[in-house]
Amino acid sequence: MADPLMYLLDAVAYAGIFGIVSISLNLEYGYTNLANFGKVAFFMVGAYVTAIMSGLKYPFIVNSLLAILTASVIGVLTSLPALRLKEDFLAITMITLGEVMKLIVKNEEWLTGGVWGISGIPPAVVIPGITFRERLIVQIVLIYTVLTLCYLLCELIVKSPYGRVLKTIREDELIASTYGKNVFKYKVQVFALGSAISGLAGSLFAQYIGTVSPYMFEPTVTFSIWMMVILGGPANNLGAILGAFMVEGFQRSSRLIKDYLNLPLDPVNLQVMLTAILVITVVFYRPQGLLREKIKPDRKPLCKMVKSKFIEVENWIRRS
């Protein structure tokens, strides 16, 4: 690698983007026990909508809003049949949805560029006359601003009575409905929001990479996101971000190992196999992940909550 710093920054950017997706899955699975195994589909929708819209010369803000909306609508429509049923049916529907979406992308060349995809997607923020390295920094600032906003949004949701209902649905749907909660409505809302956030992440991804193609959205992406949530700790938003960093780091390292250990293995195969083994190991020995769920919630007004969040993160960094 010519410039290790650039490689590192690239990894940081990826981790940030996937951190956003991770938070959305955490909302769906960690808090509401929705088995969304089709995460990559909504990520892809967001990326493609942005790519198509940028080709039509719309500004990024419009593209991303449309991406969020499209992902959300598709999320709701496709999950409706399965949300009334048990989580395994949702899982099956979502996994197969991803495949069907890729089919559409590969075949409708007039819209999506088919197997060649769309390239030349401009970055969201264009500052003329800066170096490549500085452009990367700008991207990272953008991504992490969005990540922080998503984190705060999700924290506000889960640390509210709404969040309490989600957790109740997760623990025991029958109790939730016995005590007056319309379980179906909540599941649909969470799915809509989770898909929307994934779409946003996809949007950022498209403008960061500059191209989209169907081969960037394999089911292994969904699997990695699940790894992030499970490893970091389900029902802990900080854990979801931590998981994103760890999995991204793990996957990059496993690809790099080849350069240093001279194994006769294809780096991608190695990465996937090791990720799979890691997931299985975590599910076996520590399914609750690294960071635990907070059981005693805080009840503070908004500004104090935001401030305390920053203090929390600061302390955590200091302690480790």
């Binding site: 196999m273 599910v283 076996f284």
Partner: protein, 295 residues
């Protein structure tokens, strides 16, 4: 001018292949109470094993197929013994089981990719065409038909006449009651997992011989296997039987309609998706529940 008899023939052959591919999934799903997303990779695994014995070791074709099927059975049994049974005994949740099965699937697939390469392989067999009236077929397709019929017959016999078969049905119906009646859940599960994976491997060999051998062989029919499982009713062999042919017919007719509409034939999988979603909306318990209610 559409040769409807040929379409029917294709539907039947696809139905046979789907049946072999899906029986294992439905039975293991019904018994162990979770969908095994690695099942598609048993299909791929069987195909690659046959390739290994037939093309690389140059064994006799019947021997190669037998060995491949046996190894697939082993793969299924090991998945159950080493991964799913321990997880279940640790009280893993449904989601955990599903995630692990996805992981296992990736593990198998990428291991195969590592050993055999990620490209397209071929069995290098040229099948002569046989023309029966308006229908064109090959010995391979006829073999598929015969194997499927034999397997379906034997499974039916086993499930209704043998002790093991009755045990399988009992456990699928009510595991606690079955265990209380002295049935060894473990043995029944292990047998079902092995059998299911064996049949999946067999179907993989047929699939690969019919088209080509690629790492995504099994994954490409994942959607279909799940659509059939849900349509037929999870855990029901007879459900799979009916649903396989319904889907085979729908897909092939669907392809005719797609080409007539000027859409790509790749969308045949969308037919399976529509069947899946329709089942969830209309009758999530599957056709077998409809049949039982009428009985």
């Amino acid at each position: 001018m559409i040769n409807w008899l040929q379409v029917l023939m294709n539907s039947i052959i696809w139905g046979c292949m789907y049946m072999l591919a899906t029986v294992g999934l439905s039975l293991s799903y019904g018994l162990s109470r979770f969908p095994n997303f690695a099942h598609a990779e048993y299909i791929t695994f069987g195909a690659y094993m046959a390739f290994l014995f037939l093309v690389i070791f140059h064994l006799d074709i019947y021997l190669a197929v037998c060995l491949a099927v046996v190894l697939s059975a082993l793969m299924g049994g090991l998945s159950y013994l080493l991964l799913f049974k321990p997880l279940k005994s640790r009280g893993a949740s449904l989601v955990h089981l599903m995630v692990s099965s996805i992981g296992l699937g990736f593990l198998i697939r990428h291991f195969l990719m590592q050993v055999f390469g990620g490209g397209i392989q071929s069995f290098k067999i040229v099948w002569p065409t046989i023309t029966i009236g308006p229908i064109v077929t090959t010995p391979l397709l006829l073999a598929i038909l015969i194997v499927a019929l034999v397997v379906a017959f034997m499974l039916h016999m086993m499930l209704t006449k043998t002790k093991l078969g009755k045990a399988i049905r009992a456990v699928a119906d009510n595991p606690e009651l079955a265990a209380a009646s002295g049935i060894d859940l473990d043995k029944v599960s292990l047998f079902t997992w092995c059998l299911g994976a064996a049949l999946a491997g067999f179907s993989g060999i047929f699939l690969a011989m019919r088209s080509s051998l690629v790492p995504l062989l099994g994954w490409k029919v994942l959607l279909q296997t799940f659509a059939i499982t849900l349509l037929g009713g999870v855990g029901s062999f007879y459900g799979v039987l009916i649903a396989s042919f319904i889907l085979g017919l729908s897909e092939n007719v669907g392809v005719v309609i797609l080409t007539w509409l000027g859409l790509s034939a790749d969308y045949r999988s969308a037919v399976a998706f529509i069947v899946l979603v329709a089942t969830l909306i209309l009758k999530p318990e599957g056709l077998i529940a409809v049949a039982r209610r009428k009985a």
